[in-house]
Point group: C2
Chain length 133, copies 2
């Protein structure tokens, strides 16, 4: 596996509309895209910060994992996504080394990326995503 | 304020020795430095991932904020740090816009950076750091 950079950091918020004001008006970042990912029951908003994106996540359903995260822990950093060349290969490689996967195979995420999640019980509590183009 | 990139992502772990194995042997990243920051009662270990560092944080005392974080929420992503030109100026700028600060003035952090924290109650649950050289 060749991790090239941190593709994005996912942040769970109750309201993208409210949180956007902080990222735009206070931190001076610019939201360049918003997208609904129905598969994950979330709305997303993206901000580019150097090489890495901030991805705000708002649940569109009470049974969204983002809604459950907020219910349990409150708003905050939800996951970290590492860019690599091939998500399927990367998932297979870490599984062979004993990592428990949430996604056994890559699936389509926001921005048409090929994505897959590792289980936080194998990653010292960090919900970790691989993604590739 | 001019945020140029994400300087680092801080991750709270119980044992740097244990977590390092995951970041090195499984993700294939390389730990390039370890440092104790007595001011914050933590040991740190750094990995460079593109433009951004992963900073593992292990408490050196039970009253360290990292120990309290783990006690409350378990191991996981602790904070996000935005690189900017001048931390003192950036802190002042966001305070004037109503953000509650943890650090009213910049102080010295790991890697000799000038750092300052914003309170998560003003940042939609994300413990946020500014840092500059």
């Amino acid at each position: 596996m060749n991790i090239t950079h941190i593709e994005h950091i996912g942040i769970a918020v109750k309201s993208i509309e409210e949180a956007k004001k902080y990222y735009e008006d206070i931190l001076g970042l610019k939201c360049y895209a918003e997208e609904e990912v129905s598969d994950q029951k979330v709305k997303t908003a993206f901000f580019l910060v150097g090489q890495t994106k901030i991805e705000l996540l708002e649940a569109t359903s009470e049974d969204s994992s983002v809604a459950k995260f907020i219910e349990k822990r409150g708003e905050g950093i939800h996951h970290i996504a590492f860019a690599n060349e091939n998500t399927d290969k990367a998932l297979k490689e870490v599984e062979e080394k004993g990592v428990v996967l949430i996604d056994k195979q890559a699936r389509k995420g926001a921005e048409e990326l090929s994505i897959g999640f590792l289980h936080p019980k194998s990653t010292f509590g960090v919900l970790t995503e691989f993604c590739s183009k």
